[in-house]
Symmetry: C2
Subunit: 216 residues, 2 copies
């Protein structure tokens, strides 16, 4: 039974992991009868936002907020996880572009959070496939130059992906793009989706594609 590490960045589309994308992936993984281990860095969120007013509020902790999606069962991000997982899934939400990396403010000159970068690079070296939704492929592009990923249809955002030495691929929200060389699956989710049902369909296809990349 494959074990999937879901890398979260908080709880909410404006400052953490996008909730509907996260749960779409959770359902898709559970429908396969795979196990999920939730993980998130134990650090302050770069930004914390009232989702009602859109205004900044006092900073919350990434791990603590991620625990809401995980129903309490979340581990601080650590390299030891790599010995027991078969794949990594990274939902979107602005936390992926403000906390896991700073793409939201720095664009193509962004940096990944060092612990996140090491975790993903070491996973990659071990042949562990990675799936990323919505804006999270910007993190993938930063960590894995040469990868081909989805990011939606906005030309400016796509140009930033290209500027990081990666290939941007147009793709509908219900479909996925597979970079077989780098073992990376990406899907645009709410970057292009008309609603949650499309995001869920994309998540189902993402998990199907991930299954083909997991060594049997």
């Amino acid at each position: 039974m494959p074990v999937i590490a879901m890398l979260l960045s908080g709880c909410g589309n404006m400052d953490g992991s996008e909730i509907q994308e996260s749960v779409s992936a959770i359902i898709a993984i559970d429908q396969k009868d795979w196990k999920i281990v939730f993980t998130a860095p134990d650090m302050r969120q770069t930004r914390t936002v009232s989702h009602f007013t859109g205004k900044d509020i006092p900073a919350r902790n990434v791990l603590q907020e991620s625990a809401r999606i995980a129903r309490g069962r979340v581990e601080p991000l650590n390299e030891d996880l790599l010995s027991s997982i078969d794949a990594i899934v990274i939902p979107g939400g602005l936390g992926a572009a403000t906390t896991l990396c700073d793409f939201a403010t720095m664009g193509s000159s962004c940096k990944a959070h060092p612990a996140v970068e090491n975790f993903l690079k070491n996973a990659h070296r071990k042949g562990i496939p990675i799936a990323a939704m919505c804006i999270a492929p910007a993190l993938i592009a930063r960590v894995f130059p040469g990868a081909s990923v989805t990011i939606g249809t906005d030309p400016d955002t796509a140009a930033k992906i290209q500027a990081m030495g990666c290939n941007h691929v147009d793709c509908s929200a219900e479909q996925v793009h597979v970079d077989h060389v780098n073992k990376i699956v990406t899907t645009p989710a709410f970057m292009t989706a008309s609603g949650p049902a499309q995001v869920f369909q994309g998540a189902l296809n993402m998990i199907e594609a991930l299954e083909e990349l997991i060594p049997s």
Copy 2:
């Protein structure tokens, strides 16, 4: 196209709306191409809990936190909504039993929050069907004596439902119980589910059952 009011109580299973149940219902509704209007009372949460430590933290606002599940689009609970909606869906999570009513601490002598009680009673008078998941049927039992609802398989919890003058019905997480007289659909969700895939299947069946109760 039916419009569904989703009544939220925050964001997280320990102090608000259960996230995976809420999103399961959101996906099921969106797959029907129905519209969702999110609503929540504008008040302090009775309890706010770190989902990582399980300990109390400073109180958050129900409406503000519910906005995380709603991706920013949530309306303060108000009676005017009743003129434009065709059904109500109430996900579980402890917020339904600590904020929408105080069943978690008061059991069968619990009270519903007055604005929530009026909203549900007036909906009922207008013939608007109501669906409730997990622990939320305890709120239904308080507001609608005589109703028959699911609450899981715990005998103590079931006894409290009976003590409120309602009938408790055993039901698997993937199935629903329909009280045709009162136009109420309930499903146990995480009260009995083995995982998110079962919760999602229950949500799909809940929305199917709700469709039959909405006047065409």
